[in-house]
Symmetry: D2
Subunit: 439 residues, 4 copies
């Protein structure tokens, strides 16, 4: 039997708290999971700094990747013998599902912004580069690894396959909503996935939803909306992200500064600082390693770096107030100067963070983060875009919502000796009626 | 208002997936949670290497500690106005519950055995030593930190207080059974805690259970039994523990060997290797740091250390067979020699691991791990030890069960060129009818 | 101690699958639950004919009434010591919560429409009339029963008390959404009630919600929306309701017809048929009794009554198609005639049913089913009506949605011998593209 | 296509709170569910009077029957392509699973004892007699109905098929434990059914369990044990059963008494009283009808019948004390006489009820309720009876436990005017230290 078709002698299962069991029967999948590049995902948290807000959210991307694989496996199981479904694409779908997040590094959000990286690029590199993963995929058939990479990059020609992994109701989103809800413990994030899987139908170029399942999809869209605002954009989590970004900025700045020398050479970070990260460097820097440096940097000879690292490790986060930089430019400028006067470097200690979400969108070609809309399969066989059929989805469709917050170290303000200065700063910060003791 | 009695202006809650919410109203508790020594528990997993078997089990001791606190808080709430309950002990109970695991280091089980450490000793040190935790507790009242330490050490005079934290049905066990079940996703570990809390009654020197709640307690005992054998002693988890221990042994051995020099000085480990760990060193070594070294040690100039670290990081674990060293001494000796012949160092690659559990025990004073038995409060006011009243508990009471496994790297055996040698080794290993492809 | 303040020697609990436990400590509550008029609620299903669609929905109004009581009990517990809360109203709130549905008869929806009854009227009568319930309430204090009746009628002067029992986020709705979701098994109906209870605050004339809890309330509103369309207005359930109404109509018609005599006198129904129901008659007619008659009526000498009863008992329901009587008046008239031609009495076998829901509404005084809107308590102490603060709620606020269906016995059509007639009827019915084999 | 192989055009699902969805694809199954004899099971509660103790337990046997069908369907799905499994038996298994409880009447336990009936006999009759069910089964193939009856009677030759429906770990038990736990809300009754289904293996004459699944089976056995003692044998439920039996006894006695005439002829009961129940009579008497009579009998001219019916309908149950009739014969005789003296007829108002359970048993041929033991399939292919491998099961195996209670109307005792008599009765009843106010 070819490697492609090889089955394990007995089906293996992983106990999964979200899907109960993850089932593996293909030798290829089993080998991919065992590959070092996949095992590395155990050392990257799914939700970065969220566990500082929701202490249960300590789960890794390893978890999530298995979950996405399992959902795709179940969808495909239902597709067997349906028209439009090509069983030859089965293994490709499973591999793409399992590996779609392979390129995530530690705290991707902050690292990518500060160091101008792109996890999708690294996912591609791991799949087609010199890795164990690539070796396994090429054993399936020469060129197979490129196909997997194409599916993940959404450039694969069979758009039905692509839509399983990336659309507005793909296996990725269905897994993370449920998984993140489970581990944080919030009551949002629940929807009837079993029903959604039952009403999914393959057509030529996409997966569509039988219209009888519309309400389950509405529920899924609402879950997504709630998870974004209740969990993913939680202001306390963003406070930790702000500090993390500032640590990386400061460390890079110090590295570039002639006058400063790190007590311990930040070996793992060098190529990141120099903007010249290759695959090998990238794979070595997991969250464990980052924490190691943050511990050490608490003892470096730079007050800002020490303080920020100490804050991050011990969860002494910044406080925040509502603050719209577009409308409050004068306030911003005054605060900036007042912080300078107070000797609290505003480049590190006065930070605006804005989060936006588009809960659901119909298709607008050319847009940046374009994802396929959800199409309903009507009883007469026609397709209807979801927001045209659902009042609720129509109501929130295409509506971008943005939340602006201003972050700062309240403890430092409280310690200020110059009472006039302190008073003026607080006046501006709490002008909007925010209560001062907000946690 | 004194610091002891200070309340937060608004009750704070932590979203907890197990208990739904953890409630904090006392300023002292709030401050303890924010202390660096407590935040450090985020970097120590509750179940060590178990996540290599049950991928969901990535939760930290921080999680569990909040959970124990919450359970004690609820128990005490029910105790208000009951005879025998002294409301003045409330804060002491809450602090002891929150802090009882403070001294746990990374992978406690292995570290303690290899380096002859004791996490309980370090818990005491953190509470009474020069730490932020101690500073907070002493602010409550001079000597208060010692009281907390005494409760955890079970030497505190008020045995009722001690039994809340340490008995055969204490808040510690009730939390970890439920929490570990939740995160692993296994269906064991559930019992009706709400009912148990309702039937707990304080008497002079212990917490007892109204006899009407006996069946809920039986269920708890059975949960414990199942969790031990299904999760805590899972043979795959033990395989990872075995490798971990061998890494520590090897690194210590190399450190002590004149001929060998580490490429990077294992600074964090030095005092561990030298058997001279002080509190400061201890607090610095969390699991993040351990992983950092394990990554680096994969590139040291020692084949065994490299191999073991690589196995641990990439989950290439040892396989196992049933093997009772007491009954199979000859097999053991022969295998040891055969491994030497095969140039697979048996001191590192042929390991017997035995796990034992005593699911429930009536009181046998003088025993090592003596925990108070569970007493039922009968309708006539008398006490009756649980196993005298419950058939099921009686059946398993005092019965120690031991499981012996022999661990070895099957991949290395398969690579052996000497077929006679290979065959003989496998003959012995699989003599008991174990199938060779056991996962 | 007065009866009003009398406590049970030990708190009693009811095991409840939705709230885990229902707690009773007041003697008055205990006695009310034991009263025959309250026990009768065990013989009235909470969801009428819904169990013919969702087989799990066999729970009674007894269940729900205990649940509403329990929720109010928990809310009030949180209110202790809050400004605006008057602890003297406690027992009144608990009684009103427990008894608010006391007047529900069998299949209220259909019975009320056909016989022009009003369960709220009977709730009042049971509370203030000659019943065991009234006797208990008057023992609390003379006039207390009238107060309870007033709270339920929303005429009680303390509007804060009223809003606990009847508002757009009252204990009634919170219980039935969760309970009906639990018993049907649908995944809708879940929201974080524990959080909502935590953020409820009493003010002068109503219960408001701290704005930090807005998202939990959004989730509750969405649950309500989904439950209405997925469960309460399910077209199969409505099919059973249609048949039930037609049975009652037919029986009444036959009773009024001189030529017809029932084999067994429908004693329990007489006063209903004659439009002269007193409290005693009303209390006797529970769902058990109704079923008894429906069984017997299958053997009466009227084809229509027999057929309809047989359909109801054996779940041979009518099929349905989308049909808007306002837009399809001509179709309606033609169908009516065709049915007559086919000798299928259209007055019983061709039925339009329309269901409407208003998911949430801001306050429009003078409207029929006026319920208080939900007000958020902002950080600065001001109130803000929910739909002004929540995008989602705003989107669905005040939007009435109506669903029209036409019901008919498809089996009878299929049996038609006149093929032209059959064909024409089906042409009209399935003109809108509905598939014929709809279940 | 033959009727036997006919599939529905689209799979139908029933939303089930326990198994999430019940899936039906076979036309035969669909038709059986729609048959009047099966729909009748909606009017028979699964747990008789248990809802008077656990108010959630209002679910019907209709529910349970669908559940057993679904479990067997899933087991068989896993069996496809396994050796020993004969796919031709598939439909037979599904039908037997669905119909196994078809003969249950109202409150089977009491009715069977009082009227000497046997629900298994009626199950057989419905399947092979003149019914819609029989008609459907015979359409599959002549003689098929008899095969279904044989499987349920355990006389079918293929013992593998029989063991799916009736063994110590059959689909029947797995469904009711979970279902009854769900509806009562108790925390017992949970076990990992998904895992058990995964480790079930067909062999020649039975279903066995792979030994790796032993702990899941232990958990199932313990669930069963807990459900029996916590739910099924709950003393309050038995109190209602006692009253119910006494009502039936009394009504039969009155019917047989020349001097007494029922105001309303108890038509539905006549053949039961006369010991001459045919299938048609049997099918007519569901729990709705029973309630109708109990309501009416509250107005008959017999004090005992009225009182007992009123107690049953309004849940005014008997109280109970521990009482072992074997050891307390003298007490029994004295109490009997004292009750006579007090004019409380002891034949109706002084009742001993004893419940026994055998949690698990290895095979003892010739025993009354003989069910196949559970066999484990060892790695070497041999079978091992469960209790020989599991400590816990061994501990409780074959141990019959009996609980004796004495029931009586405490309210009547309290009303006694003769204080000496009252005192002496209570002395005997509460001699064992039972508290008088037991609920």
């Amino acid at each position: 039997m070819s490697y492609r078709d090889e089955k394990l002698s007995e089906e293996k299962v992983f106990k999964d708290p979200v899907h109960r069991y993850v089932h593996v029967k293909d030798r290829v999948i089993w080998d991919l999971i065992a590959a070092p590049e996949f095992q590395r995902l155990r050392r990257v948290k799914q939700l970065g700094t969220t566990n500082l807000t929701f202490h249960g959210a300590e789960h890794s991307r390893f978890n999530h990747s298995l979950g996405v694989y399992e959902i795709v496996r179940r969808i495909i199981n239902n597709f067997q013998d349906r028209p439009h479904w090509n069983e030859n694409e089965r293994l490709l779908c499973l591999c793409a599902a399992l590996l779609h997040d392979l390129g995530h590094g530690p705290f991707s959000h902050s690292f990518e912004k500060v160091f101008k990286l792109d996890h999708e690029y690294f996912t591609q590199q791991i799949i087609i580069g010199d890795t164990k993963i690539n070796e396994i995929l090429e054993r399936v058939s020469p060129g197979f690894s490129q196909k997997v990479a194409d599916v993940i990059a959404k450039t694969y020609e069979d758009k039905l396959v692509v839509s399983l992994i990336s659309s507005q109701i793909d296996a990725d989103r269905m897994d993370y909503l449920q998984r993140d809800a489970y581990f944080t413990g919030v009551s949002y994030g629940h929807f009837d996935m079993e029903r959604i899987l039952r009403v999914m139908r393959p057509i030529e170029d996409q997966v569509v939803i039988k219209s009888t399942g519309m309400h389950a999809v509405e529920d899924y869209i609402m879950s997504r909306y709630q998870m974004y605002w209740q969990v993913y954009f939680h202001p306390v989590t963003r406070s930790a992200e702000v500090i993390l970004s500032k640590i990386l900025h400061r460390a890079k700045y110090l590295y570039e500064t002639k006058e400063f020398t790190f007590k311990l050479k930040p070996t793992h970070f060098v190529s990141f600082f120099e903007g010249d990260v290759d695959l090998k460097d990238y794979l070595k820097l997991d969250e464990m390693i980052v924490h190691y440096y943050f511990q050490l940097w608490q003892e470096e000879d730079d007050e800002i770096l020490c303080d920020l690292c100490e804050r991050f490790m011990n969860r002494r986060l910044f406080k925040y107030v509502e603050f719209n930089p577009n409308l409050q430019m004068d306030d911003w400028l005054e605060l900036y100067k007042l912080f300078q006067q107070a000797a609290i470097d505003p480049d590190y200690y006065l930070v605006v963070d804005s989060s936006s979400d588009l809960p659901y969108d119909f298709y607008r070609p050319g847009e940046e983060e374009e994802r396929l809309p959800i199409n309903l399969l009507m009883p007469d066989g026609s397709l209807k875009e979801l927001s045209r059929h659902s009042d609720i989805v129509e109501a929130i469709s295409g509506k971008k919502r943005t939340d602006h917050k201003l972050y700062f170290p309240k403890d430092r303000l409280n310690e200020l000796k110059d009472e006039t200065l302190k008073k003026r700063i607080k006046e501006i910060l709490y002008a909007q009626g925010a209560k001062e003791d907000v946690e």
